[in-house]
Amino acid sequence: MDFELDAEQIALRDAVRGLLTKGSAPESRSEVASTEPGWDTGLWKQLAEMGVLGLPFAESDGGMGAGPIEVMIVTQELGRALAPVPFIAAVAVAGQLVAHAGSTEQRADILGRLSEGTAVPVFAHVEPRSRWSGEAYSVLAEQDDDGWRISGTKEPVPYGAAADILVVSARVDAATRLFLVDPEQSGVQRTGYRNHDSTRSARVAFSAAVATPLGGVDAAAIADVSVRAQAALCAEALGAMERAVDMSVDYLKTRKQFGVPLAAFQALTHRAADMYVSLELARSMALYASMALAEGPADPVIAARAKLQIGRSARHIGQEAIQLHGGIGMTAEYAVGHYASRLVAIEHSFGDTRHQLGVLAATLTDHDVVDVLH
């Protein structure tokens, strides 16, 4: 049992952190997000050159063959920097879907281009009126002599207006299947917009759009990749929370009011202490999620456990970070509000707190105690 990074992992962390430190500040996020594609294309290229975009994919697919720990390291750094890149959407979600479900050719093509930074795939899955689940509801796929056609609307689709490749979930009879759709066809209509967290999304409407099945009929891919996505989101949130706590502590030390630093007010320092507790509990669970993935099959219960804690810590820390900053924390010119906003978005992606509680409540009778030592 060992919770520390090894030397190679530390080197990866330092390299990514070094790159991001040179990048744009969190408070300039909204500018990047205000137009398509909504990400920092220069930074994306640099991440590709560093090999980061191919991190979790097999070398035979053009990737680096690294594992969940490395994805965790990268997303945690992206979270710390609030870096405006679609790493989760393209690599952790869509890329891993292709890696898990795609045919050899599909993997080599899409993951190769993704790893090189020349194509961004995203997962078009959430529908305008769906809660989080692994199912498609109103988007339907039909087969005729010419192949498959997809109709219906997905929204919000992360970076859906600028993505080069859409992985689309669609209903076929009672089942949900995955398809690849080229967005540059007349049957696909896309409207992009900025999200509150200065990422971008799109409404993507399909009218008998030409689609290719992703690999075979691997319904487990969504569940499996959801677990991986949640682990990555937990790590990103951890990075964001680290910075939100750091900034709040620094502010208490330096900001003066009534002639003394805010740190002289015990009511504030005790609340900072509670934020630290939230952070450390979140850290433990974020590590747990990725370590469990690195050592065993994707377990949705472990993902729910981690995401539940991260959701609660994120809400607590996001709210308190703004409150301890006072008015300045409310402004877009200052970074802390951007962290809070991103934490809200993460909490509501891939299953919010209420969803995770439901998942866990359903498992209560499976065990006497939750065992972690084995």
């Binding site: 909204s30 959430v126 305008p128 009126r129 769906s130 809660r131 989080w132 689940s133 609307t153 929204e155 919000p156 409207t191 917009y193 900025r194 999200n195 509150h196 967290d197 990422t199 999304s201 409404r203 900001r255 003066k256 009011q257 009534f258 002639g259 007010f265 009511a267 504030l268 809400r315 709210q319 703004i322 409150q323 006072g326 008015g327 924390g329 409310m330 402004t331 877009a332 010119e333 509000g337 951007h338 809070a340 906003s341 809200v344 978005a345 509501h348 992606s349 919010d352 707190t353 209420r354 509680l357 439901g358």
Partner: protein
């Protein structure tokens, strides 16, 4: 003890309800209900309508448009206005500068300013906060130096709400830098925003909106006739103003209206084949919030039903603290109801997401301010601990 309204008060309530739900244009009320902001013109038109019906400044002195209402009736007026999604008259005008001018201004100032202030012919903004002051308002640094018939004002204000719409600003300025205490040597000035040397810089907030501003004064010449009351007594007027501010500070009606809408959102949201309102976790959360709001409203009613004029009821300090907590909790609930779509706050008109989903997170983020502005909740706790509990 009596819980029911007197027949007079019940009739008053009915009169208010009828007016607000039938006389105020539906499109204005729909905008408020949708969590959207009004344009300047819409705000002005609404306040003028209220003022035309003597419903804009009921708490002002009778000679300036006030009504001889009991505190309970004023509360009913406010509740019914909020429950009907009617935008309240501009607080800077009717709760802040208006009462200060009516109480401390010269006869000339009253005649010049009060009628257009009630009618929103003048849009006021508030110049109290400064960048380095925070909750320590009295440490302000903007100076006003007497020069002949003018004051020359230099300095910076911040968090100035809707300064971009404002015609005039009321400011606290330091007129005697040598006063022994920081609360002394402060004066209360009225400044025309069109005066040379006044400039406004917008501050973008985390919800993406433009609500507050920085206001800069660079050698701005202000006629001495625009001094309210006595020089160096401005802190007294500010305390009077802040005391008034707290009365209307727990918008329980507005929060109730939002919670009622949240309930309809939940009933309209499908989850696993049923609606979110059928989910026991959601239903009990809403039930608890309804109850929390009821407890707060009853506390507010205890204050208004049994308050002597001018003597603050001990429970009133609870209102700001708890009122903002509940406001925030309800906005938090709405984000959770919006679920995975809650991220899509700036989706356009062709989006298939309901309007309430789009405003959910910006509203949540915006209302984080509620526990910061107007005396942070930490300041409120300190007030309760010291003034009420004697700690």
């Amino acid at each position: 003890m009596k819980l029911q309204l007197s027949s007079d008060d019940a009739a008053f309530q009915q009169r208010m309800r009828t007016f607000f739900t039938t006389e105020v244009p539906q499109e204005i009320r729909d905008l408020i209900a949708a969590g959207r902001h009004l344009s300047r013109d819409q705000s002005v038109a609404t306040q003028r309508l209220l003022n035309a019906h003597d419903l804009a400044v009921p708490h002002w002195p009778a000679e300036w448009g006030g009504q001889d209402w009991s505190p309970l009736q004023r509360h009913i007026w406010q509740q019914e206005m909020q429950l009907a999604d009617v935008p309240p008259p501009l607080a800077f005008n009717i709760n802040m500068v208006g009462p200060v001018i009516a109480q401390f201004g010269s006869q000339q100032q009253k005649e010049r300013f009060l009628p257009p202030t009630a009618n929103l012919d003048i849009w006021w903004c508030q110049g109290f906060s400064e960048p380095d002051a925070g909750s320590d308002l009295a440490s302000l640094r903007t100076t006003a130096i007497r020069d002949g018939e003018d004051y020359v004002v230099t300095g910076q204000k911040t968090w100035t709400t809707l300064a971009q719409h404002a015609d005039w600003i009321f400011v606290l300025v330091r007129t005697d830098p040598d006063a022994p205490k920081k609360q002394q040597g402060i004066s209360f000035l009225l400044i025309d925003m069109a005066t040379p040397g006044v400039s406004v810089r917008p501050i973008e907030l985390i919800d993406g909106g433009h609500e507050v501003n920085e206001v800069f004064f660079d050698q701005v010449r202000v006629p001495a006739a625009n001094l309210v009351g006595q020089e160096n007594r401005g802190w007294d007027y500010a305390k009077f103003l802040l005391g008034n501010e707290r009365v209307g500070v727990a918008p329980t009606g507005q929060t109730k209206a939002l919670l009622a809408r949240a309930k309809s959102y939940a009933a309209d949201s499908l989850a696993d084949g049923t609606t979110l309102l059928d989910d026991p976790l959601v239903a009990t959360r809403i039930a608890a919030l309804e109850n929390d709001l009821l407890a707060l409203e009853l506390t507010q009613l205890r204050v208004v039903a049994n308050s002597e004029e001018g003597k603050p009821h001990p429970a009133s300090s609870v209102m700001k603290l708890r009122g903002t907590e509940l406001q925030q909790e309800v906005t938090e609930l709405v984000v959770d109801l919006a679920g995975p779509q809650s991220v899509a706050s700036f989706a356009g008109d062709d989006s298939e997401l309901p309007e309430w989903v789009k405003v959910a997170t910006p509203t949540y983020l915006n209302y984080r301010k509620a526990s910061i502005y107007g005396g942070s909740n930490e300041v409120q706790r300190t007030i309760i601990a010291t003034s009420i509990l004697g700690l």
